[in-house]
Amino acid sequence: MKQADDTEDDQRAMALSCVWDGEPADNEALALNGDAADVRARWHRYAVIGDALRGDDRPLPDGHRVAAIMAAIEREPMRPSAVRPESAAANDAVWRWKWVAGVAVMTAVGALSWGLLGDPTVWGGRSEVSKPSQPPILRQPELEALLAEHRQYGGLSAVQVSSGFLRNATYELPAKR
């Protein structure tokens, strides 16, 4: 009996969702007997979620209501995707284009970044050390100490004898001697 109630509840939720998406709703499902308060709460929840997804700049509901919505979302049964109707939501087209735009922008940024960074093979073994599994070897304290010594006792340039000192003093790591 509990299982039958759950199924009716799911059907009613699906019908409400369809109404929100501007699709033909299952009138029989909408007509199913249920707790009016639960239907109102669900309707309000869909309204808030819809506003948030559209990015409408409306005042957010109070914290208590948000907590109630989040709790309701927690209780929402997970459905296999096959149960969802094949018809797309009314705003799917918008989201699809946002996705396409995102991919396009990432592609453009990627192309530019590649142009800026150039061919990694030019840099010899740098690609090797940039593998996430290998931490940069400069993090090794001993190497950092040598870097500090290089900047102290080498690391100067004729173009910046004074500024070179300032640069190294600004940059150098605390001594690890």
Binding site: A104, I137, Y153, G155, L156, A158, Y171, P174
Partner: protein
């Protein structure tokens, strides 16, 4: 097709409009970059009457003749450091104070080549002599021809840095053994305001004043007093022993073009020997070779890495461990390793 049509999402396919827009943006950026490249290429090589050596001397002397205070920012890779600096000079002595504003609080004071670093956290004052500060002006005089052999100076107009009118110069590397630089110097005095180290395709490191007061009333007496005020600090003196590569059993089979040996020393810290440090310079860039005995517990992985313009290569060489680093391309570090020989 007009811009209105090509940008209008209601015209034709939204997908194609979007791609047209992306393509147009990329095309604008690429054409902008090309235009910039052409503009640089059009600067005559001899636009500036001064020769490279005269120019370097002018920039070098500017820091020796002028007092200033300012805020200096160094950005390299993901790291950025800021310091407040005071510089005073009386024609004979140069004094500088650097208060590092990020990370561990520390103050560094220099009088000519004497440097003291106050580590406030550890109440430690470290005294040392940085002989390279004295060596480089000499290098500039003796190696002047060599610097011009490897770098070309081009004037690139004017800009404004930290509120000062600056002349912009490109120190272009003539070969792939070194990086080039873009330098902003104060128009009247020649004081260096900003310096970029240029990789093959991007800026590797920047040093720039964000605020600078020229001819500021910096008291040399106060800086001297600060340098000797070590009360409450434990004073450590860096123990450096000058040596020669040959005495340590090393030599370069063949010089790396433009780089000359500048110094070689050993050092110790708390009774523990530090690696031998052999420093090379081409006048603008420097390379340090650190050589120590191979220790399988500490030296597990060789490789290359970088921090801003400073590249690092570590490698086992026989029974020794070699760490080579400098503001040069990785291939230059590789040449040092390849040419290093054990002679005993």
């Amino acid at each position: 097709m007009s811009d209105t049509l090509s940008f209008g999402f209601c015209q034709g396919s939204v997908r194609s409009a979007l791609w047209r827009r992306c393509r147009r943006s990329v095309a604008l950026l690429v054409s902008g970059a090309c235009a910039a490249s052409v503009a640089l290429a059009q600067v005559p090589a001899n636009a500036e009457a001064r020769s490279l050596t005269e120019w370097l001397t002018w920039v070098h002397e500017a820091a020796r003749q002028r007092s200033f205070t300012g805020t200096l920012v160094v950005s390299a890779g993901e790291a950025m450091s800021t310091s407040k600096v005071w510089h005073a000079c009386d024609g004979v002595q140069q004094m500088e104070r650097v208060d590092v504003l990020n990370g561990a609080p520390r103050t560094i004071v220099r009088r000519n080549n004497e440097v003291i670093t106050f580590d406030a956290d550890n109440k430690l004052a470290r005294l040392e002599k940085r002989e390279s500060i004295g060596v480089l002006p000499e290098l500039l005089r003796t190696q002047e021809g060599r610097i011009a052999d490897h770098y070309r100076l081009q004037a690139q107009g004017e800009d404004r840095v930290a509120g000062h009118i600056a002349q912009v110069f490109h120190l272009e590397a003539k070969d792939a053994w070194r990086f080039g630089y873009r330098v902003w110097v104060e128009k009247k005095t020649g004081l260096l305001l900003k310096l970029q180290t240029l990789g093959p395709q991007q800026v590797l490191e920047q040093v720039a004043f964000t605020e600078l007061q020229l001819d500021a009333p910096v008291s040399m007496a106060k800086l001297k007093a600060l340098m000797s005020d070590t009360q409450g600090y434990r004073v450590e003196t860096a123990q450096l022993q000058k040596t020669s590569p040959e005495a340590q059993g090393w030599r370069l089979r063949e010089a790396v073009p433009g780089f000359v040996s500048l110094s070689c020393h050993t050092s110790s810290a708390s009774g523990v020997a530090r690696p031998l440090q052999w420093v090379f310079s081409d006048g603008l860039a420097s390379v340090s070779l650190f050589i120590e005995s191979f220790d399988p517990k500490r030296h597990q992985r060789g490789g290359t890495t970088a921090s801003g313009a400073t590249h690092v290569l570590t490698q086992r060489v026989g029974s020794h461990w070699l760490t080579v680093m400098g503001e040069v391309p990785p291939a230059t570090l590789g040449a040092f390793v390849e040419r290093l020989e054990r002679i005993r």
